[in-house]
């Protein structure tokens, strides 16, 4: 036996013994429970409606919160939804922290948190991985990476779902990013959260919470939530208050002897010297900057076309203008929609996914060119089992409108269906097509039942208001119906509104039931507002001036481009004004 390893061991031992003791990283491992010595009435029993004090809300955020009704929680899709990251540590909470280390080097790879309040698992990656791309799903707890600043842990979280900064309807958008700082002093963990929400906040919102190490452990680590019908009504109703009609907005200030201007929130109210009715303070506005997802290497760059696995047999191809869904298996390939641009690149990506299998079927969820531009190329690149170009499937209305639009035969669907649904098996799973006259009368939802993925087409987007096209048979009602159909089909994982069925929108990121429910809420609420204005005999100009989409414009609106906010309001107005 060679003595060299032994010598090496002894040398290493001596050198280690001679070295100064190394400081260790701070460990946060253990069970922690919150201390609620700040804002306890808000954090534990729960806030009272109309209290926005201490929040740098902007005009849109205030408008949203003013419209919010506590009855919103009776909506089935919202009953079990956990709080999102920016609020979850504020509310009643206890959590367990553990570490994941490389067994060979003992390097810290990840910090794991289990949050008892909602049975949520959180991973804070310490291994330097980038944040996911912009088309990845969002979760309630988001995607987190951490870094040490000495003994202080700094965490950056993105990909957070839309939720609330306060559980009485103070909104938090899914564009929110959060920077946290954790510090430990003995059995005390102090946590600072700085949330940046360009949609609903005018500046970053800083909060800090204290947690104490639980020496004896605790109970209540499970979240038992079941949906129940609390109010007998149509399940598609979304409770809210019309602008100016919320009767509860003054109760809080009156009850607690507070100035109404103060409880309305806003960055100016957070500063020393603020007084109700006083002229605005000369300030020093904080910049509303934050983490920049577009700087992440994983972010989709112009010209990129990529594929990402959704689940089961289904993939999403992004970068071709609109989303393309691909189902791959032994039978071959189904492509849902063929994009607006970059056809060759998209085809190349699909071929790579197909691994030699043929494209058999192409499904168009709409007749619009931005979903069908690649039809001809994709069809001719594929083969049916009979050796013909891959068959294009769509609702008959789509075929008819494409024919009216002089789309060449080779790019038009000839395998059309007329009925409400069409289904067929492919790659070992049922594929179901649902027709909806949503944004046009040509829309199809595609469900891959075993993969548990819905391809929503234009009825659902995470980047714009629905492009309701009245001239081509679209309607507000039809769009809302399509969204509610998705909600009927989608089932979240476990007992809260996350994961489970994934939904691929016509445009934007991969979603789940909660995301679609929030979008459905938005369309329904805007519909109700415009309907109420029409009932008051308001003209289109007056409706536009009333800004019925104010609270959503920062998220879905556009001043320019193919589908502006004004066009959306006009479409809804004209639709609802029909006799």
């Amino acid at each position: 036996m060679s003595r060299t390893p032994f010598v090496g061991f002894v040398v290493a031992a001596i050198v280690l013994a001679a070295a100064a003791p190394a400081s260790a990283q701070v460990s946060f491992v253990g069970d922690w429970a919150g201390r609620y010595h700040e804002d306890q009435p808000d954090r534990v029993p729960g806030q009272e409606p109309g209290d926005f004090s201490g929040i740098p809300l902007n005009e849109a955020g205030r408008f949203y919160a003013d419209s919010w009704s506590a009855d919103w929680y009776s909506v089935l899709e919202h009953q079990c939804a956990p709080y999102t990251l920016p609020y979850i540590f504020v509310g009643p909470n206890q959590f367990r922290i553990s570490e994941e280390r490389n067994p060979d080097t003992q390097e810290l790879l990840a910090i794991h948190m289990y949050l008892g309040t909602f049975q949520l698992h959180r991973t804070i990656w310490m291994d330097g991985r980038p944040h996911p791309p912009d088309y990845a799903p969002h979760t309630f707890i988001g995607f987190s990476t951490g870094e040490w600043n000495g003994d202080l842990l700094t965490i950056t979280t993105t990909h957070i779902k839309a939720g609330f900064f306060r559980r009485t309807g103070v909104p938090e958008s899914d564009r929110t990013t959060v920077v946290e700082h954790w510090m430990r002093h003995g059995t005390l963990l102090s946590q600072v959260t700085i949330a940046t929400d360009p949609v609903y906040l005018s500046e970053p919102y800083i909060r800090s919470q204290e947690f104490v190490l639980m020496e004896r452990g605790n109970q209540n680590w499970l979240y038992n939530c079941e949906y129940v019908t609390e109010v007998a009504r149509d399940r598609t109703v979304v409770p809210h208050f019309l602008p100016g009609e919320n009767p509860f907005l003054r109760e809080f200030a009156a009850k607690h002897a507070m100035p109404q201007e103060g409880v309305r929130g806003g960055a100016e109210t957070l500063l020393p010297g603020w007084k109700p009715g006083a002229p605005p303070l000369p300030l020093v506005a904080a910049k509303n900057g934050g983490f920049k997802p577009e700087e992440q290497e994983s972010h989709l760059q112009p010209g990129d076309v990529r594929a990402v696995h959704v689940q089961g047999h289904v993939y999403l191809v992004v970068g071709a203008g609109t989303n393309i869904a691909v189902q791959v298996g032994e039978d071959g390939v189904i492509v849902v929609d063929t994009g607006a641009t970059a056809t060759d690149k998209a085809l190349a990506v699909i071929r790579e996914l197909a691994k030699g299998k043929e494209i058999r079927w192409i499904v168009n969820t709409s007749f619009r060119p931005d979903h069908t531009a690649g039809n001809e190329a994709f069809s001719s690149a594929g083969r049916t089992v009979n050796g013909n170009p891959a068959a294009i499937v769509a609702h008959e209305n789509a075929a008819a409108r494409m024919a009216q639009g002089k789309v060449p035969d080779s790019a038009r669907p000839f395998n059309t269906y007329f009925e409400e649904t069409r289904d067929f098996p492919f790659n070992g799973e049922p594929v179901v097509l649902y027709h909806h006259a949503a944004v046009t009368d040509t829309d199809t939802l595609v469900m891959f039942r075993r993969s548990d993925v819905i391809v929503a087409g234009e009825a659902y987007s995470t980047v714009s208001y629905p492009m309701i096209d009245l001239a081509n048979g679209g309607s507000t009602r039809g769009t809302i119906d399509a969204l509610n159909r998705i909600l009927l089909l989608a089932i979240p994982s476990k007992n809260f509104e996350e994961g489970g069925t994934y939904v691929i929108p016509g445009r934007g990121r991969i979603s789940d039931e909660h995301d679609v429910a929030m979008y459905r809420d938005m369309v329904t609420i805007i519909r109700d507002r415009i309907k109420a204005l029409i009932a008051k005999k308001k003209s289109l100009a007056e409706v536009l001036a009333a800004r019925p989409t104010l609270d959503y414009d920062g998220r879905y609106g556009a001043e320019t481009g193919a589908w502006t906010t004004k066009m959306f309001i006009e479409a809804v107005y004209q639709d609802l004004s029909k006799p």
Binding site: R3, V7, S23, Y36, H37, G128, G150, H185, K292
Partner: protein, 297 residues
Amino acid sequence: MKSAFGVFGATCALAVLLCIGVAAQRRGGPPPAPRPARQIAPFDLAGTWVSIVTEDWRWRMITAPKGDTSSVPVNDAGRQAAMQWDAAADVAAGNQCKAFGIGGIMRQPGRLRITWQDDNTLKLEFDAGTQTRLLHFDRAAVPPAVPPADRTWQGFSSALWEGPGVGRGPADDPRVAGGGLLDRGVPGGGGQGLRGGPPPRGIAQINRGGSLKVTTTQFREGYLRKNGVPYSESATMTEYFHRLPPHPNGDQWLHVVTIVDDPRYLREPFYTSTDFRLEANDAQFNPTPCQTAPPLR
């Protein structure tokens, strides 16, 4: 084999010499003079900071009604004392600064100007109530017990740097006032993402962690809140000051954790944390006398 033992012997000898040398340095000669606190500070607190009142707004920005002790873990004596609050009586007795004492001053909306009075004393000036605190790093400066009648609102504060960055001096980065060089050897990754992987882009890495621990004694009794929620002279007051790594938008934050343990009025330690944003200058620093607006009701 022979050469392996040769290497082993030489390494042992070197290690032993190193050990002896280190031990000699530790034992021999007069102890080195302690370096001034200002030199070993892991971060720089100097500047004018403004409190951003996002928490306890209704108890900090306005005066809550008498008897509202929400969130504070008062015991029966504390609750009863809070019910006895009489702002006019305080003024008449010259006690109008009771809400601006050590137990309440950090929670007052206002600006905080921090400077070094000397190499071992940090000076904290508050424009709210025109209060000044001195944080003494010099152990020898601790005074003997002060009779209650001679105590001050702010008491005597002993300060101590804690954490891995201590002794390295403040970070040398144009975004942080102060000097010093980034040290990649700082335990815990040193803010470089060294052992946590590279950080997300956009977060400046200039903080080495560490904190300033402050323990305050020998103060007068006062109020934790403007509306007379009390703390007694027998309370212990511990604070941790952190300068947070710069936010991606450029904001600089000071985070202060305060723990009040008062056997007379509290049933458990009272934890709060307060956040201040660095201002470009002290143009907005506006000293005002101790004055508590009456509750709206």
